[in-house]
Symmetry: C2
Subunit: 379 residues, 2 copies
């Protein structure tokens, strides 16, 4: 029997949704009774096709989903730049100079020219829609839009194909707009989340969004996102009104993840206070592990944050250089190693397999509910 | 039968702790089965004596507590200023000028001299300890220290008198230091809380603090604070590891509270995003309702934030003038009306009596647990 409506909609046995850029995590979580969601934004359509074919072959028929980012609006200064060559040309060379100087202080050799992103890569509306079309050619049980209002094409195609559409929000007004646009599931994500996030905490946002949707007559299930690393927290957010948990950071500390050994070691060592919400990686506020990178950009004088996707065209090649240097044994470069991660990083004590994480969530979830029920005489 | 260890320690029937500066709230909550805690920092010792005598006469023998603020360290520039006359003299007149100019833009008449705080008022170690001594002369069942490590005198006197000592923390390291100092209960307060707060959210902080205490061999119950306005959230934080909830903002929206009608109306209208964590009222980061006051201080040029307690000596008389003007019908002054309140303000939909709030919490708490237990087959 399905635990609740979100399980009915998606086919999840246990409403633990696992966002990951790694197909191995997605398949492992779905096979273990959770629900894996592949983050697609870093792939070309051809790459995504390959990833999803792999998942179809390895998920044993369990349900899974895909998350794309179709930006609702793009900065006017970027609209006219129709390809990555033009976008790269629009970036002041001072950005590459600043990055080179910063990395040089950590023993990383300069790279005179910023590498130009392959065509059909980078977060733009066209690229997001192309990825969406690939996703709909596979037997997905959920499609999610990561930022802004889900586009009409996603809603329409989802309804045609019977695929529920989810959308991430960080404020109650956005939840209402998503519901009016026709989404089936709201992922309400608190400020403690890794990656793009708003200002309101998960604990406050969940009841606020649930109430706002109910008050506006939208009978839509809400998943809680941001800070959830244990089954006890998942049970907690369900007590506060959510129908399940949407998680991301916890999967970065699995051996299957795309993260480096250097970053996973930092996750185990980090406290919850070691993250920062900063525009200095994507151009929009996104939570990540704090390193000297962030302070350097705050002090970068006249060099302000570039809009999305330009900021990522500066930062991502730099972070790739940092990772390569760290992997090659440069201890100073390790200081700069960073990635999108939430405050829940303070709860990561070891690297565990994705399967083990799902099992631990299920046990902790049941234990928390059993104990709480017993404390009020229900057993 | 007590629900858990925190109920055993304090005598609370239902582990809902209500922090309030208003004796009526404290007595009403305790009588309704919760646990009222009087915030004492704004009283002289004589005033506190009077308040506690009133509570003793009105609480029907139910348990209650007192919260004082004995700062652990005081800014070196303030240490030498031994009385409020000296402290006032140390404040650059430009602060009063800036405040006068700001308030004048909202139709509030200037006040040439900053009023001087009465002796034995203001947040200093001596004043905090004097209030503590008054509290211990009453049949309190809890004493809490609001900021920093609980002083040795509080721990010693608490043990002598059998009064559990609680301390508020915003980070796991502080919880360990408090446990080592000898406190009996940790109140782990997330960044969404009203008043002084840290950066980590309640949802992350609770399991992080519970684990850190357990890992260090300290068997101390943890109360969850920050953002909790409903019994569902309270149940949620107990699923995540807390033994109860410590609440503040919700009581500001009761008719018994010290808040003005203007502020309560703003609470009902506010969204969760309408608060700000700012140093511009007390000198330390404290969450409050955002008004043009905060932007003005951010832009106040060379006038930085003064250390505690000097900043409050500038801000509190100004907020008193704002409240008087608003109460007298000045609509512009209403725009500046603000007070310490957490992000949970977005969940306040109406003004309810303290007794009603406790009853609603109890019902929501039981409903949330019953429903969650049923979803996993426990009933």
């Amino acid at each position: 029997m399905a635990m609740n409506r979100v399980c009915e909609l998606t086919g999840a046995e246990f409403p633990l949704f696992a966002f990951s850029h790694c197909r191995d995590v997605v398949a492992a979580v779905s096979r273990a009774g959770g629900f894996g969601v592949l983050g697609a934004t870093r792939f070309t359509p051809e790459q995504l096709e390959e990833e999803l074919a792999w998942i179809d072959a390895h998920v044993d028929g369990a349900p899974y989903g895909v998350d794309v980012l179709v930006p609702e609006v793009i900065d006017p200064s970027v609209t006219a730049l129709s390809d990555n060559l033009m976008r790269a040309a629009a970036i002041d060379p001072a950005y590459q100079g600043f990055t080179n100087d910063l990395l040089a202080r950590y023993g990383i050799a300069p790279e005179p020219e910023m590498p130009i992103l392959k065509e059909r890569m980078g977060i733009t509306p066209e690229n997001g829609l192309a990825l969406m079309e690939v996703a709909f050619r596979h037997p997905i049980k959920l499609i999610a839009n990561a930022l802004g209002i889900a586009p009409a094409a996603m809603i329409t195609r989802g309804k045609e194909l019977g695929v529920p559409v989810a959308a991430l929000v960080g404020a109650k007004e956005h939840a209402i707009r998503q519901a009016e646009a026709g989404v089936d599931i709201i992922v309400a994500q608190g400020t403690e989340a890794g990656g793009h996030c708003g200002e309101v905490t998960t604990l406050v946002l969940i009841p606020e969004v649930v109430r706002a949707l109910g008050g506006a007559g939208h009978d839509i299930p809400v998943l809680a996102a941001g800070g959830i690393m244990t089954g006890g927290q998942m049970a907690g957010m369900m007590a506060a009104g959510a129908q399940g948990a949407w998680t991301g950071s916890i999967w970065l500390a699995t051996p299957e993840a795309e993260t480096s050994e250097a970053f996973r070691a930092k996750m185990v060592a980090a406290r919850s206070r070691d993250t920062i919400r900063s525009r200095s990686r994507t151009g929009k506020p996104a939570r990540q592990l704090r390193t000297p990178w962030h302070a350097a950009w705050d002090d970068a004088g006249g060099l302000g944050t570039l809009p999305m996707p330009l900021m990522g065209m500066v930062s991502e090649p730099a972070f790739a250089r940092i990772e390569r240097a760290a992997a090659a044994g440069n201890g100073e470069a390790r200081e700069l190693v960073s990635y999108f991660v939430g405050q829940g990083v303070g709860l990561v004590e070891q690297v565990r397999s994705s399967r083990q994480v799902v099992q631990d969530f299920r046990e902790e979830f049941l234990d928390a509910i059993t104990e709480l029920a017993a404390s009020v005489g229900i057993e």
